[in-house]
């Protein structure tokens, strides 16, 4: 008896970190505080301006949608490297729909375009049992080629279009929460510590937001609800954890994998349509710029959860948006933030975990970053474009070992293999 309870205690022991609303809010406030300190010290006012925050949201949406696509697919056990190709299809189909029938049809067709790529991926991986990564790479090549071909075939003859770009696209429109735009702007311009930063964040997130952005943001809770709060979602996730067990309970694994992969393509296609309709207002060749892959990376460091990947997408969107807002100065200021964070981590390691050597190494790294901040004035523009990728790599290097992908993710499954 006591042995059992001891065993139970041992099982329960690993501290279960649960993200609750107070923690999330506290984290956001701490983050703004940190950026606020950085802004005051470095004078880089753009790092919390409303413009930057709006750009962050716009940059995060396509990546977040790609990440959600990855979430659907990988939760059902299908690795989806093909997100990039599906996204490319989304940019072209979205642009084509918008040019022909208006913005909302563009959104719909973008989703359908992504779904076409996804059907191919599902046929190859689920029906034919082809390796997931291999099929995904083929989808990427195909999506890229198809979009190029279609653009040359369709857009070249339209006024204002060309072989590699579409005419100007109609936009789905924006909304603002009325009455707070001007007060927030004037508060932001006073550059008061913390209050102005908060005003900047609020203004960026509530003024002139595209309806498409709202739609995309709503996909996050919707995905969470479907996958974690419905029987359908439970079955879908069971296919990603143990397809043979799911099969033995009467779940049609092929069906769930198909649905998951197609929804995945819809999400990626929406992400692509967002890029051409809202972010750029035009279809351009090579527009996705690897955002499908980055979506996959945010999924991984969001630990295969919707909230985590949304956070990852925002982080990526933030670093991505800075390059357009006084890139060199702003990214340079972030070096200061980074040094604060690293030194904070060193203190945590020393005081809470009593790990002296790692703490020392971390502290030295923090001092080095600070030194780098001190001796330079600005980061060369070529490196500001690389910031998001470097940040992703760093986060993965630090966090990878704590992550838990679905147990049967990427493994081949044939019906009846468990017998």
């Amino acid at each position: 008896m006591s042995v059992t309870s001891q065993a139970l205690a041992a099982v329960k022991k690993p501290r279960k970190f649960r993200l609750t609303w107070p923690i999330v809010l506290g984290g956001v406030v701490a983050l703004i505080l940190l950026l606020s300190i950085t802004r005051v010290v470095s004078g880089a006012n753009d790092i919390t301006s409303g413009g930057t925050m709006a750009a962050m949201l716009a940059a995060a949406v396509p990546i977040g949608l790609a990440g959600l696509g990855g979430l659907w697919s990988e939760r059902s056990g299908v690795v989806n490297i093909g997100l990039e190709g599906m996204m490319i299809l989304g940019t072209w189909f979205g642009a084509w729909g918008a040019v022909t029938w208006g913005p909302w049809m563009g959104i719909l067709l973008g989703a359908i375009g992504g779904a076409i790529g996804a059907v191919l991926h599902a046929v190859a991986t689920v029906t034919f049992g082809v390796d997931h990564v291999v099929s995904g790479v083929a989808i990427n090549i195909l999506g890229f080629g198809a979009a190029k071909y279609l653009a040359a075939a369709v857009f070249a003859d339209l006024p204002g279009g060309g072989d590699t770009q579409s005419p100007r696209l109609p936009s789905p429109g924006t909304f603002s929460i009325p009455g707070i735009g001007e007060p927030l702007r004037s508060l932001e311009q006073t550059h008061i510590f913390f209050l102005s930063d908060l005003a900047g964040v609020l203004r960026g997130l509530t003024q002139n937001v595209s309806w498409f952005t709202l739609l995309a943001v709503l996909m996050v809770p919707l995905t969470w609800w479907v996958l974690w709060r419905t029987a359908f979602g439970l079955r879908l996730r069971s296919c990603g954890e143990s397809p043979t067990a799911a099969e033995s309970l009467g779940v049609n694994v092929y069906y769930y994998k198909y649905v998951a992969v197609i929804v995945s393509g819809v999400m990626a296609g929406l992400g692509g349509a967002f890029l051409s309709l809202v972010a750029a207002g035009i279809y351009r060749e090579g527009q996705t710029g690897g955002r499908g892959y980055i979506g996959l990376a945010t999924l991984i460091f969001g630990n295969y959860r919707p909230g985590g990947l949304a956070g990852g997408a925002l982080l990526f969107g933030y670093t991505d948006s800075l390059q357009l807002r006084q890139g060199g100065t702003s990214v340079h200021a972030l070096l200061f933030t980074l040094s604060l964070l690293v030194v904070g981590a060193a203190v945590y390691l020393l005081v809470k975990r009593h790990r002296n050597v790692p703490a020392l190494i971390t502290a030295v790294a923090g001092v080095l970053v600070f030194w780098l901040y001190q001796v330079t004035d600005s980061v060369p523009e070529q490196f500001t474009t690389a910031t998001p990728y470097i940040v992703t790599l760093l986060v993965l290097a630090l966090a990878s070992q704590r992550l838990r992908p679905p147990a049967a993710d990427g493994l081949p499954y044939r019906r009846g293999q468990g017998h």
Binding site: L120, L142, A297, A386, Y389
Partner: protein, 386 residues
């Protein structure tokens, strides 16, 4: 998956695809051919739907593609593709997916070009060797980052190499503009200082009937193919590498240090990748500039898959890709978008991998039929009630 297969070679899709489980006889040849025919059919349909005559387009491509000058171009492209695909294939044989070949060869090419243009006080041939060595070392170092992250931090090489590709783009742009770049005379292009004449590799007049020459480093590509085969099939290291790819548990039981193997395999793959740009650099461009060929690494992935990670198969696939790419250039003159080739390539890759899988299943079914026939023909065992 739990069928009776040999204890070491797990009979998984990846193993079959990567040529580690042999497909027998004519099927091994028929599968890719059928897939290519299928891809051509689909491409024809796409052409027809978009209002271009499929047969005439194909004819144009074949006619243009078999001209001597185009054949030289095809071989030249194939040389670059081949080396890049070998780099990818080496990773594949160990279940490592090196998507980062693209970044590795670009970083390597600019460093090698800079070394070549630095005016080292060396005889020409020695400097040529130094350039090649610099390229290999740079590619290997860049790939080592992903290898170390995978071995010691558990970061999937798929994601880390993709990120490293983007970082490579920034790094190369920075080096080109701020460190090594000089204006190229008579254009607004910028490039590294050109490699001195005595270190350049002369072309070979392999194809009769044209002035153009094939890259001299095509010989290096061939040597790399042979070395690839020998390394994997005739050395202890190659055995360890293949074992790790086939069955990691078996490899560990056999005393292989998997972490070390991951890093070494990435380093070798990156070293080969570093050479991918060299035929172009030392045989034609002589300096790294903004218009240096891009995207070789991704082409390499497709070709490695098509050639089943086998040096001979990859050679055929590389030539096919080179042919498709170069022969399509004529289509521009006839108002057919050349991008049709990319659609065809994508469909080819997808249908080839599906074909390999189907052939494999067909073989299993055939074997099972054979076995059950033999069992039925055999006399009933003693004591078995009818």
């Amino acid at each position: 998956m739990s069928e009776k297969t040999s204890p070491v070679v797990k009979d998984t899709f990846v193993n079959r695809l990567l040529g580690r489980v042999t497909l027998s006889g004519w099927l091994a040849l028929a599968a890719p051919l059928l897939a290519i025919v299928f891809a051509a059919l689909v491409t024809g349909i796409v052409l027809a739907v978009t209002g271009n005559p499929p047969l005439e387009t194909l004819e144009l491509m074949v006619e243009y593609g078999t001209q001597p000058r185009t054949m030289v171009l095809t071989l030249n492209s194939a040389t670059l593709y081949y080396i890049s695909a070998l780099a990818v294939a080496l990773g594949f044989r160990m279940n490592l997916f090196n998507i980062g070949v693209d970044g590795q060869y670009r970083v390597a090419a600019i460093i090698a070009a800079a070394v070549g243009g630095a005016g080292l006080p060396l005889p020409g041939w020695l400097q040529a060797l130094v350039i090649l060595a610099a390229a290999m070392a740079t590619g290997a170092l860049w790939a080592a980052i992903a290898g170390l992250l995978k071995a010691y931090r558990g970061v999937s090489e798929v994601v880390s190499t993709i990120m490293l590709n983007y970082i490579a783009t920034s790094l190369v742009a920075y080096l080109l503009v701020n460190v090594f770049g000089v204006a190229v005379a008579g254009s607004n292009n910028i490039g590294t200082k050109p490699i001195p004449e005595e270190s350049r590799i002369p072309g070979l007049a392999l194809i009769p009937g044209t002035e153009s020459k094939v890259f001299g480093l095509i010989i290096l590509a061939a040597l790399l193919g042979i070395a690839f085969h020998v390394l994997l099939n005739r050395t202890r290291f190659g055995f360890d590498l293949r074992t790790t790819g086939l069955n990691q548990e078996a490899a560990v039981a056999g005393g292989v240090n998997v972490k070390r193997m991951v890093v070494i395999a990435m380093v070798i793959s990156g070293g080969i990748a570093g050479l991918a740009g060299m035929p172009q650099l030392m045989g034609s461009s002589y300096s790294y500039s903004l218009d240096f060929p891009a995207g070789l690494g991704f082409t390499g992935i497709a070709i490695a898959l098509l050639g089943r990670n086998n040096p001979v198969g990859i050679a055929f696939a590389a030539i096919l890709w080179g042919f498709l790419y170069n022969s399509a250039q004529i289509l521009d003159l006839h108002d057919v978008p050349t991008e049709i080739v990319e659609i065809m390539q994508g469909i080819t890759v997808l249908s080839v991998v599906i074909a390999y899988e189907l052939v494999h299943r067909y073989r299993i079914a055939a074997e099972q039929r054979k076995v059950s026939k033999e069992l039925a023909a055999a006399p009933a065992p003693e004591g078995a009630s009818k």
